[in-house]
Symmetry: C2
DNA sequence: TCTACTTGGAGAGCACTGCTCTTTCCCGAG
DNA sequence: CTCGGGAAAGAGCAGTGCTCTCCAAGTAGA
């Protein structure tokens, strides 16, 4: 059996190496990386690569899945890094900083996840689970905030938004009021917007104190959501 | 002289037609549209197209410039559509809705502006002026808010952020307190994040009431900035 | 009006791309 | 020890951005 799994192991290693090489190319060529160049880098011919990935899109899908999971892992690590689990504000901010740090360390992968959608490419269902890990980490803090008895916002939500939030809660986080979820989603959007603005060059020649301005924003968001100091 | 300008006029028309065709291709092929396909669509050979644009990047730059200006025009129109110039909240919200409407109507051009940066492509200086039209429109509302005597936020800004905002103010909007500019920039980021999330598919299967949730967010942002009802 | 010059279009060609198909080879299960 | 299947190689197809040469047509000066 060790012989039988050898083939499989080699194949798995090969697949990993292809992805690693592709990730390297991602940094310079973006989403339109070249299969042939990846193969060339590995000393193999391009057609051999099709034994591992049926198409370029399949390779991209694998990279996207890995990236979502890497970001999710980083976000969760940011959360658990705060040993005092009752320090909700610190946890929220730690997650935000973890997301930004991961994005700055892996800009091309972040762009693959949150940048312009690749034309003619449709993400398979499998990615959505990985994609929701990061927002779920944020929602966990909201849930702990509710359990700790902190007061929640009392916005008036339009009925349709209320329904959306109720549906979101049903799938993920029982017990969180719709109003809090709505504000939490806003915070997730602000986090994404801030990181994207910085990474995509929209802050150039405007804001130099990137870290400080990010911190300022996220503190403000945390306050808005109702996470006390 | 009418003969001399004929050539120029034909050339201008040709340039416009190329851009229009390219814009159409942008919708299906995204940023990696094909010069040859554009030429084919116009019944000409690809090399002829190089008489008008020295490279594919140059064509993209022209499209980007046009898109920034179109968005800026839409934003300004959203502002001036509010006849009561003292209705600052209405003006702010009208600008936000105009930006979203333009983005929904021109998704691929929006992606070109605010999506993943094109690898190896660096925007020339000329685009920055067009790019700032939309945020400047928002800042105008902030300025009118100050002039109207509305109270401004009293955040404590880190010194570096304070300096950034002072520099931003110096170039654009004298008289606006740094704290207000910082919050206004947050609002611009939230607007961008909300539109991008919706357009790039991040809201799929989560929020269905797109319009209503957007409105909710922007109202909240306006309140946060300190624009009274 | 005739000529000299500039300009725009056409076509061939180069190096590259994703992908398919066929051929070869070699590992490992029976 | 045989032989089936997985993996690699290579040729080939249609497409790409871009360059170069060639030619027709429009423009300006005498």
């Amino acid at each position: 059996m060790s012989a039988g799994s050898l083939r499989a192991r080699v194949r798995a290693e090969m697949t990993e190496e292809i992805k690693a090489t592709a990730r390297r190319h991602l940094a310079t060529d973006g989403a339109n990386l070249s299969l042939r160049a990846v193969a060339r880098d590995m000393g193999m011919v391009s057609s051999a690569l099709y034994r591992y990935f049926p198409s370029r899109d399949a390779l991209l899908t694998a990279l996207i899945l890995d990236a979502y999971n890497a970001l999710g892992t980083a976000a969760e690590a940011g959360d658990t890094a705060v040993t005092d689990r009752t320090a909700l504000r610190a946890r929220w901010l730690s997650i935000c900083h973890a997301v930004r740090a991961w994005a700055l360390a892996n800009p091309s992968e972040y762009a693959l996840l949150f940048g312009s959608p690749v034309p003619e490419y449709h993400a398979p269902e499998a990615t959505t689970a990985a994609a929701s890990r990061t927002p779920l980490t944020l929602i966990t803090v909201l849930k702990d905030s509710v359990d700790a008895g902190f007061s929640t916002p009392t916005d008036h939500l339009p009925p349709t938004v209320h329904a959306d939030m109720a549906r979101l809660r049903a799938g993920t986080a029982p017990g969180i009021p719709e109003e809090l979820l709505a504000r939490g989603s806003m915070g997730w959007i602000q986090l994404f917007g801030a990181v994207s603005f910085e990474l995509f060059g929209q802050l150039n020649n405007v804001v130099e104190a990137r870290e400080a301005y990010f911190e300022y924003q996220m503190r403000h968001v945390a306050t808005t959501i109702g996470i006390p100091e």
